[in-house]
């Protein structure tokens, strides 16, 4: 009962209508089942009578008296309130929001506010996310099995893929996810790094918040620390003896292979040396095209189930999982015409009917069509073309004529010309299913894609050293092998689909690293060496800062510990011990980092040598474990920005999720991969 009264009082204060209190009291009294009381009050007011003394004993009346006392009290307060309008609002704020705020929104909406409700919760959510990904960080990271919403199985330790498939819904965790997605788009590697670093930053921020720092102070400190870190980072550049520039990448393939191996080793440790060399060769083929822009799309991966990873190989040119449509399955020194249209009888877009007037027309109708086709193919053949690649259907009649022409030709000259022309003048026809593949093939052989069936000019004809049908496992493939190709393909072998997919992601990271390398050639020591150095320098810097941001900068510096720490933890080492060693060692060698395994990996030649697995601190320069400067730079930037974004939130308002079917996503669309 008393709570009811207090509630009423509060409502009144909130609404600031003290004068209405009485009426309201009477109305609301009904709600609180004070029917009796109401009657009494009404009676009192109407008759202006004294209440019989006997009734005073009635409990309801006791309350009435209490209420009346409140009324007077409030009336006096209201005068005060009118004097201080600001104060009034303040007081109103203190009232628990729930009923008032919730009444503004639809039922089911969520509203969280304040340090405990919003900030700590956000931080916790990010921490939880990080727990999932942290165990897959580094060469000794473990895989995750993720089954996504269409029941596809992923086995991977690639943070970007894990996050993409598990459908993160928490808003704060989603910010982290977006940050890692940005990293994926910007550099293509280091996605796990972003998640880890951002969530560790948040974890440290939590301590600072509990210490009493405000969110904005922490954010300021973090941003300051970040700019300082980005200032220090270039100074840590590793001198590897060779000055890499955009133009001399091709000459230092050994070094590049080492750099790319770092990226691969975090996914497929043990195979990194073999795959690193493969990717390096593939990338260098592509970057040879004379232009400075390196397109990741030009390194293709063709996954073929069966065999083992070590049976993978690289082809300069394209490899397609297709069959060849025509009889000829092998052409050397090919001259190729590429068509995006189906090679078939052209059909009008407009609906039309062929109108025949006489029997003669009927008789000659299909004959004319056939001679037309024959002349077309013959014209193409006469221009020296022996391979036709088409993005559309190749009509059966055309296929037949493609065959016929070659036979005609060989038969007509068989008299004196040598028999070898038999094989030389043959047309091969390949049909591609995807328009992107068509574009890539055209790029490989340097041909112009013709939208209409006509004889190509000299410039439009593509050349290829060797085109042939091959079989790997039980998959038949068409290989376009071209020495001067600007597209290279890595044929991946593996015993399960998952291994192949995971391997493809690792290669993708490596290729992206190469792309980053074409933009920026600076190298940093890997294995957490750069991080420890940053941590040390930042700590020193923090001590020079006079303001409260000193604490935040210090914490930012400490966050860098997490990288070698997690590396060590995932390898089953004592992380504290390793950290201590690293800090001590960094006094005189700033390239000291945490080294996993040895560089003696499994390769084709060296299969029997025992591999000593060490997990120790070591000089990164000597062990040739390099990270790219650009990856680190963006990772730091994205992680800090994401952490600051999460920190700057103090309220979370979630609208009620709308019912009904999800908006349709056009998943099946052929997007530009």
């Amino acid at each position: 009962m008393i709570t009811a009264i207090i509630y009423l009082v509060k409502i009144t204060i909130t609404r600031g209508r003290i004068n209405d209190f009485k009426n309201q009291l009477l109305e609301e009294a009904d709600y609180f089942e004070l029917l009796e009381l109401r009657k009494v009050i009404l009676r009192t007011q109407q008759n202006n009578q004294e209440v019989p003394v006997a009734n005073l004993l009635d409990s309801n009346l006791k309350i009435y008296i209490v209420l009346k006392m409140c009324f007077f009290l409030l009336a006096s307060v209201s005068n005060y309130l009118d004097f201080r309008p600001d104060q009034k609002r303040r007081m109103a704020m203190r009232v628990p929001k729930a009923p008032g705020f919730a009444s503004m929104m639809k039922e089911g909406a969520k509203y969280m506010h304040g340090l405990d409700e919003a900030v700590y919760r956000n931080i916790n959510a990010c921490k939880e996310l990080c727990e999932t990904t942290s165990s897959s960080f580094g060469p000794n990271g473990l895989n995750k099995m993720v089954i996504n919403h269409i029941e596809k199985l992923f086995v991977t330790n690639d943070a970007a893929s894990i996050l993409r498939e598990i459908d993160v819904v928490h808003p704060a965790a989603k910010i982290l996810m977006l940050a890692s997605e940005m990293q994926e788009k910007e550099v293509g590697d280091g996605t796990n790094y972003v998640i880890l670093f951002a969530s560790k930053l948040l974890e440290n921020a939590e301590d600072l918040l509990r210490m009493g720092l405000s969110q904005s102070e922490i954010i300021d400190g973090y941003l300051l620390a970040m700019s300082k870190a980005l200032e220090i980072l270039p100074k840590l550049e590793l001198d590897v003896g060779i000055k890499l520039t955009k133009d001399n990448l091709n000459e230092h393939d050994a070094l590049i292979s080492k750099i790319l191996q770092t990226a691969i080793s975090s996914k497929l440790f043990g195979y990194h040396e073999f795959l690193g060399e493969l990717v390096t060769r593939a990338c260098l083929v592509v970057s040879n095209d004379g232009t400075h822009s390196f397109n990741v799309d030009n390194v293709r991966v063709c996954k073929i189930l069966g065999g083992g990873l070590l049976q993978s190989s690289m082809v300069s040119g394209m490899v397609l999982k297709r069959e060849i449509d025509s009889e000829v399955t092998k052409v050397q020194q090919a001259k190729i015409a590429v068509y995006s249209c189906p090679i078939d009888i052209q059909v009008t877009e407009t609906k039309g009917t062929v109108l025949l007037k006489s029997a003669d027309e009927l008789l000659s109708f299909s004959k004319d069509e056939e001679t037309g086709i024959e002349s077309q193919i013959k014209a193409i053949h006469d221009s020296g073309i022996n391979v036709i690649v088409s993005g559309g259907k190749i009509g059966k009649l055309f296929l037949y004529y493609i065959y016929l022409v070659l036979v005609h030709f060989t038969f007509s000259i068989l008299g004196e010309m040598a028999l070898h022309f038999l094989n030389k003048y043959q047309i091969m026809a390949v049909r591609l299913m995807s328009k992107f593949d068509l574009r890539r093939v055209a790029k490989t052989i340097d041909a112009v894609v013709l939208p209409k069936l006509r004889t190509p000019t000299h410039e439009e004809i593509g050349y290829c050293d060797n085109i042939y049908l091959d079989e790997i496992g039980d998959t038949s493939i068409v290989v376009f092998k071209h020495q001067k190709s600007t597209i290279s393909t890595i044929i991946l072998r593996g015993s399960t689909e998952q291994i192949l997919d995971d391997c493809e992601r690792a290669l993708d990271d490596a290729v992206n690293n190469f792309k980053a390398l074409t933009k920026e050639q600076a190298l940093l020591p890997g294995g957490g060496a750069a991080e420890i150095e940053l941590a040390q320098q930042l700590t020193t810097y923090a001590q020079t800062c006079p303001g409260i941001e000193q604490y935040a900068i210090k914490r930012y510096a400490e966050t860098f510990d997490c990288i070698p720490k997690i590396l060590a933890e995932n390898s089953g080492c004592k992380s504290t011990e390793i950290l201590a060693k690293l800090y001590v060692g960094h006094q005189d060698n700033k390239n000291l980092g945490f080294l996993i395994g040895s560089n003696q990996a499994i390769t084709k030649e060296r299969t029997t040598q025992p591999i000593d697995i060490t997990c120790e601190t070591s000089d990164m320069k000597l062990n040739a474990l390099y990270d790219l400067y650009i990856t680190k730079k963006w990772a730091l930037l994205f992680a800090t920005k994401a952490a600051c974004t999460v920190l700057s939130v103090d309220e979370i308002i979630c609208a009620k999720p709308a019912g009904g079917p999800k908006p349709k996503e056009n998943k099946g669309w052929d997007n530009d991969d």
């Binding site: 089954i147 009917t353 037949y400 399960t496 390898s571």
Partner: protein, 539 residues
Amino acid sequence: MQPMIIILKEGTDSSQGKSQVLSNISACQAVAEAVRTTLGPRGMDKLIVDNRGKATISNDGATILKLLEVVHPAARTLVDIAKSQDAEVGDGTTSVVLLTGEILKNCRQFIDDGMHPTVIIRALRKAAAIANQKVKEIAVSVKTDDAKEQRALLEKCAATTLSSKLIARQKEFFSKMVVDAVLILDDLLPLNMIGIKKVNGGSLEESRLVAGVAFKKTFSYAGFEMQPKQYQKPKIAMLNIELELKAERDNAEIRLDNVEEYQKIVDAEWTILYSKLEKLHLAGVKVVLSKLPIGDVATQYFADRDMFCAGRVQEDDLKRTQKACGGAIITTVENLNESVLGSCQHFEEQQIGGDRYNFFTGCPKAKTATLILRGGAEQFIDEVERSLHDAIMIVRRAVKNDSVVAGGGAIEMALSRTLRDFSRTIAGKEQLIIAAYAKSFEIIPRQLCENAGFDATNILNKLRQKHAENGIWFGVDISREDVTDNFLAAVWEPAVVKINAITAASEAACLILSVDETIKVPKSVAETSNAAKQMGMGG
């Protein structure tokens, strides 16, 4: 009152940690258990009834696993490697699954003891590399220069594969047939150029190999009976056109203004058909095959002129005919000449069991072969077909890679011994793991013995003793319940089969060990009940 923190979508199932690794291992072992008894010459078959009620009898690991529809994510890996083995070499699918299961089983104790999975994975990779190296080292290369010798080698390989199949009794008969079939093919050894035709009835021994093409008589129209059924050196036209009265073009329309013209049009349609037939006749074609129907007008026309025709021939049959007899598949009868027509020595229609078959033999470019299988039950012939497929694949591999190892558990014992010896040379945890990996290889001879009803421990002891004395080719002798030199006993397998099996099994084992967390996002169309979701994970 307070909303919960939900990071992931509602209904997302996630499990992690050591227990996750262990449960994945258990799931894989359950799968391995399912195919365990099918290994070897004395392996038993499985009868699987799928959800449509179709019964399949098989002892082919890949076939069984495919039909089982495994849903457990980790166990699906095993199905995948069986498929990969099937794709790469075609045989040894059961052994690859068994081997993976056994490696995982032996590694289980290390996980239990708290060893870090990455340590195990690295050791396994190293061991696999050593094993592969060893296989390459001891594999015996058989020279291919001598055709006769190569043939003997291939036959032995085929016989070894077939000995573990349903048709083990007829292995001499079939291994010869399989080798013949493969040797007919061209360099690429395309599998689809070996046709397998199944005819119910008769006995297995009545199966035959046709160096050329044979296919079942197609649907025929009136007049077919009058056509001759036998030719010597006929010219063959393979068509992709319909020999029937029909509209020339779908969207063509004829408008006429007088009655005389109408009759002309009708005549013209007939003329079109007859001119096609006439052109074929004039070109001297004796046998007309078409992918599309050949109508009764055409059938009777051909019958009058001593020609044979068959319409609605299956596309792959037609393609194989073309490969065998030369020529091309013709899409128009204009410009017919010698080059587009095929020919063969002999064409005949024959009765096989209850069906009539068209035979094309003595083909000039015979790069294709047809196996006609006879046998009782349908399931039985199906299994024979699968067995022959395995044998064909093995022979194809053996043609490409001519090194062989001894089967019957011999190579496994040799590897086991090598690895065990190697493990003793290294210090540290890896010693244990490599020793466990070495032990895993013993599952193959052990299972061979168990399936044959022998005392596995006894035989294995004998084998270990022989191998310790450097008898690297000693394996299980199924016929005498003893050990014997399987290389001399001509139980041969291509080395590439073993290399692939070891690689695949190790990669799969590593993959399963490297997973420490499973996250299952609910299906996007989340209308399934909760019970169904949980069942999905239960696997």
